[in-house]
C-alpha cells in the first residue's frame, strides 16, 4: 500500500511539473478572447515568415546533428576503444561545451574573433575580419552548436561500445583487421543507438534559442521567445512552438521502437569484462595530434580567449559584485533540483524497471518527451499554469524554476539509475523480502546502497544541467530569482566586454569543478 502511494506520488510530481504545463499551454493556445478558435495555428501556416523560420530551424538542426554525428562517432571510437594517449583528459576537454550554457560558447568564439581577441596574435587582420563577418548567422550557429552537442554522440558511442559483447569483436578479429571489424560488426551493432543520438541532437538544436538569438539567426524558438517576452502573446507563442513539440514527439516514437533493446541512454555505467583495445600502431601519434588539435581549436582557444580578455582582478571583483548573489542562487537551485531528482529518479526507475504501476511506460515516455521539447515551451507552459491568483506562491518564487528543472531533467536521473537497477538481480530484493523486510526498508537498505554510485552520478549530472539551464529559467524567473546564466544573458546587452568575459569565466569554473568529480566517478571501475 505504502509502496503504491509513494510510487504514485513520484509519478504525480512528474505529471504536475511537466505534463500539466504542456497541456494547459496547448489549451490556452486554442482560446482567443475566451472563445475556442484555431486562428493562432491558421496564422502560422498562412504566414510566409513562419515557413522561413521553420526552414531555418530545420536547416540548423540538420547540419548540427550531421556534423556532431560524423565527428562524434570517430572520436568516440578513438577515445573509447583505441590506445590513444591521454584519452580521459581529451574526452573531458571535448565535453566542456555541453556543460556550460551554450551561449557562453557563442560569446567566447565571438570574443576570439573580435578586435581584442586572442586570435589577433596569430592571424592577420583580414582573415579575422572575414571570419567574424561569417560568424553571425547560420555558419556561426552551426559551428557553436556542433561544438556544444558533439559530446552527445561521442559519449553515447563510448557507452554503447561498452555494451557490445566482446566475443563478437574477437570472433571478427580472428580473420579481419580493425577497420573491417568496425565497419561490418561493431558499428552496425550500435547503429540504432547512434541514430537516436543524432535524433536527440536534432531536437535539442530545434529548441535551442540562446545561441541563434545571440548570433542573430532567425529560427522558430527565438521567434516564440520574442513573441512571448516582448508582446506577451501567449497564443501565438504557443502555436509557434507546437511544430517543435511535434518533432520531439516523433523522437519519442523512434525511441520506443528501440527501447525494448535497451540501447538508448540506458547503458551500464561500469562494466567488468576486458575488451580488446585497438592498437593504433604507427598512426597513434598522428591521431593523437589530430584529436588534440580539434580539442584545442573548438574548446581551449575560445575559453582561453575569455580568460585572456578578463585578465584583470578588478573585473572579477566587479563580476562577483554584480553576479555573486546569482551564482549562489544558481548553486542552491541546482542543489535543490538535483537532490529532489535523485529521489524522484530512483523511484521512477524502480517503477519503470518493475512495472509497478500501470502507467510506468507513460512515466518513461513523458520524461523523455519533456527533455526533448524546447525549454521555452516548457517555460511558457509553467507560466500559463501557475500565473493565477491562487498559485502566486509558486509563480513568484523559486518553486517555479525548480518545477521546471524537475520536469526537464527527470529523464537524466531516471535513465542513469535505471541502467544500474537493470544490473541488480531481482533475487537481492526477494531475499530481503523473505527475511521479512518491508518495502521501504528494502528500498532504503538494499536497493539504494546497491545503486549508490548511479544515484551519485545522476545527482551530479542533473546538478550540472540545472546549473547550465538557460531556456527555462530565462522565461520563468520571478524578480529576485535570477540564476547566473540568466544574469549574464541579461547583462550581455549593455555590460562591458571585459565584465561579460569575467562573468562567463565564473560560470565556466563553477561548472568545471563538479564536472571533474563526475568524470572521476565515470571512469573509475
Amino acid at each position: 500500500m505504502i509502496k503504491r502511494l509513494i510510487l504514485w506520488a513520484a509519478a504525480l510530481v512528474l505529471f504536475i511539473s511537466g505534463v500539466l504545463p504542456v497541456l494547459s499551454m496547448f489549451y490556452s493556445s486554442l482560446l482567443l478572447d475566451g472563445h475556442f478558435s484555431f486562428s493562432n495555428y491558421l496564422h502560422i501556416f498562412s504566414s510566409e515568415r513562419e515557413w522561413i523560420l521553420l526552414k531555418n530551424s530545420l536547416t540548423l538542426a540538420f547540419l548540427v546533428s550531421l556534423i556532431s554525428l560524423f565527428l562524434g562517432v570517430p572520436l568516440g571510437l578513438l577515445l573509447g576503444k583505441a590506445d590513444i594517449p591521454f584519452k580521459r583528459q581529451l574526452s573531458l576537454i571535448l565535453c566542456i561545451p555541453i556543460l556550460i550554457p551554450p551561449y557562453i560558447m557563442a560569446v567566447s568564439v565571438d570574443n576570439c574573433l573580435g578586435q581584442e581577441g586572442i586570435l589577433r596574435l596569430f592571424l592577420p587582420g583580414w582573415v579575422l575580419r572575414s571570419l567574424s563577418d561569417h560568424y553571425f548567422g547560420l555558419g556561426g550557429s552551426v559551428f557553436v552548436l556542433s561544438t556544444v552537442y558533439l559530446p552527445i554522440p561521442m559519449l553515447l558511442t563510448i557507452c554503447l561500445l561498452k555494451n557490445v559483447n566482446p566475443s563478437l569483436e574477437e570472433a571478427a578479429r580472428l580473420c579481419a583487421k580493425w577497420p573491417l571489424v568496425l565497419k561490418e560488426i561493431t558499428l552496425p551493432i550500435i547503429r540504432p543507438g547512434l541514430t537516436l543520438s543524432a535524433l536527440l541532437v536534432f531536437v535539442l538544436c530545434l529548441g535551442e534559442f540562446s545561441v541563434p538569438s545571440y548570433l542573430r539567426y532567425q529560427v522558430f524558438s527565438v521567434e516564440s521567445f520574442t513573441q512571448f517576452s516582448a508582446v506577451y502573446d501567449f497564443g501565438s507563442a504557443t502555436a509557434q512552438s507546437m511544430p517543435l513539440a511535434v518533432i520531439a514527439l516523433l523522437l519519442l516514437v523512434a525511441e520506443s521502437r528501440y527501447s525494448r533493446k535497451n540501447l538508448f541512454l540506458s547503458t551500464p555505467l561500469v562494466s567488468g569484462t576486458k575488451r580488446l583495445e585497438i592498437a593504433l600502431g604507427k598512426s597513434r601519434p598522428y591521431l593523437f595530434i589530430l584529436v588534440s588539435c580539434l580539442a584545442f581549436l573548438i574548446v581551449i582557444v575560445p575559453l582561453l580567449s575569455l580568460f585572456y580578455s578578463s585578465l584583470d582582478l578588478s573585473i572579477y571583483e566587479e563580476a562577483i559584485k554584480v553576479a555573486g548573489d546569482a551564482l549562489l542562487r544558481s548553486f542552491f537551485y541546482a542543489f535543490l533540483g538535483a537532490s529532489l531528482l535523485a529521489v524522484l529518479g530512483f523511484l521512477s526507475a524502480y517503477t519503470i524497471k518493475n512495472r509497478q504501476i500501470w502507467c510506468w511506460r507513460l512515466v518513461d515516455m513523458t520524461s523523455l518527451f519533456l527533455f526533448a521539447i524546447p525549454g521555452t515551451v516548457l517555460g511558457i507552459g509553467l507560466i500559463a499554469t501557475w500565473n493565477n491568483p491562487w498559485t502566486q506562491f509558486v509563480y513568484s518564487s523559486l518553486l517555479i524554476i525548480v518545477l521546471g528543472y524537475l520536469a526537464r531533467y527527470h529523464v537524466l536521473s531516471s535513465r542513469i539509475i535505471l541502467s544500474q537497477l537493470h544490473l541488480i538481480s531481482p533475487s537481492m530484493e526477494e531475499a530481503a523480502q523473505l527475511a521479512g523486510a518491508g518495502w521501504l526498508s528494502r528500498m532504503v537498505f538494499i536497493l539504494a546502497p546497491l545503486s549508490k554510485r548511479a544515484i551519485m552520478a545522476a545527482w551530479l549530472c542533473v546538478f550540472l544541467f540545472c546549473l547550465r539551464d538557460t531556456d527555462i529559467s530565462l522565461i520563468v524567473y520571478p524578480p529576485g530569482c535570477e540564476t547566473l546564466p540568466v544574469r549574464i544573458f541579461t547583462l550581455m546587452a549593455n555590460g562591458s566586454p571585459g565584465l561579460i568575459s569575467g562573468l562567463c569565466m565564473l560560470m565556466v569554473v563553477s561548472v568545471l569543478v563538479p564536472a571533474s568529480i563526475l568524470w572521476h566517478l565515470r571512469w573509475r571501475r
Partner: protein, 224 residues
C-alpha cells in the same frame, strides 16, 4: 614438429596471477582436451593462443613461428590462421548464417564465386544447408552451435580452439555434436584444442588430455 608450443607462459589479469609457468606442446592433428575446474584459466589460455592478449612472461609458437612474447603480440590474431568457437558462440546477430560465414572468407579476400561454393560445402558438412538465409536469433541452440562450428572451420584453419562449445546444450545433442566434431576433424585434419568439463565429451574426443588447476598444468596424458 609441434603445431602449438607454449614456453613458460605466465599471465596476470588485474594484478592477479592467472596462469603460472605453463609449458605445453600440441602435436599436429591432435585433439587435445583441456579439463579443469571453473576459473582455473582455461579461457585465458585460449585467448593467449588466439592472440587477443599477450603473455607477461614466456613465448608462444605456432607452426614453429614465434607469435607472442612477453608483453607483445608479434603476430596479430587475423594472421594466425586460427578458428575459434566461443563459449557464448558469438554469432554476429545482424548477419544471416550465410553472411556470418562469408565475412570470414571476404576478410581473406577470397573471390565471390569461390566463397559461395566453399560456404555451401561447409553448411552441408554441418547439416545446415537449408538454413543459410536465417538470422542467428531464428535458430535453435543446437543449430546455432553448428553455425559457430561452420564459421570457425570455413576458412580451413590449421588450428581450431573450442571453448566449451556444447556446454549450453542438452545431453543427447551434446553427444551427437561431439561425434560430428570428431568426424569433421578426421575429414579436415586440423589441430584442435577443446575445453570442457564433461567426462563423456573427453572420452569421445580426446587424443590428448591436459588437466589444469589454479593456473598450472597438473596432468598431461596421451590417449588412443
Amino acid at each position: 614438429m609441434a603445431e602449438v608450443k607454449l614456453k613458460s607462459i605466465t599471465k596476470y589479469l588485474d594484478g592477479r596471477l592467472v596462469l603460472k609457468d605453463i609449458d605445453l606442446e600440441i602435436e599436429k592433428g591432435a585433439r587435445l582436451v583441456l579439463l579443469g575446474p571453473s576459473g582455473c584459466g582455461k579461457t585465458t589460455l585460449l585467448r593467449l593462443i588466439a592472440g587477443f592478449i599477450a603473455p607477461d612472461e614466456g613465448e608462444i609458437f605456432i607452426s614453429g613461428k614465434m607469435v607472442s612474447k612477453a608483453g607483445e603480440i608479434v603476430v596479430p590474431p587475423e594472421e594466425r590462421g586460427i578458428g575459434f568457437v566461443f563459449q557464448d558462440l558469438a554469432l554476429w546477430p545482424h548477419m544471416s548464417v550465410y553472411k556470418n560465414l562469408e565475412f570470414v572468407l571476404k576478410a581473406q579476400g577470397m573471390p565471390k564465386a569461390k566463397r559461395k561454393e566453399r560456404i555451401k560445402k561447409m553448411l552441408e558438412m554441418v547439416g545446415l544447408k537449408d538454413l543459410s538465409s536465417r538470422m542467428p536469433a531464428q535458430l535453435s541452440g543446437g543449430q546455432q552451435q553448428r553455425v559457430a562450428l561452420a564459421r570457425a572451420l570455413v576458412s580451413r584453419p590449421s588450428l581450431v580452439l573450442m571453448d566449451e562449445p556444447l556446454s549450453s546444450l542438452d545431453w543427447d545433442l551434446r553427444a551427437h555434436l561431439a561425434k560430428r566434431i570428431c568426424k569433421l576433424q578426421e575429414e579436415i585434419g586440423f589441430t584442435m584444442v577443446y575445453v570442457t568439463h564433461d567426462r563423456e565429451e573427453t572420452r569421445q574426443l580426446a587424443t590428448q588430455v591436459v588437466v589444469m588447476k589454479n593456473g598450472t598444468i597438473k596432468g598431461n596424458g596421451e590417449k588412443s
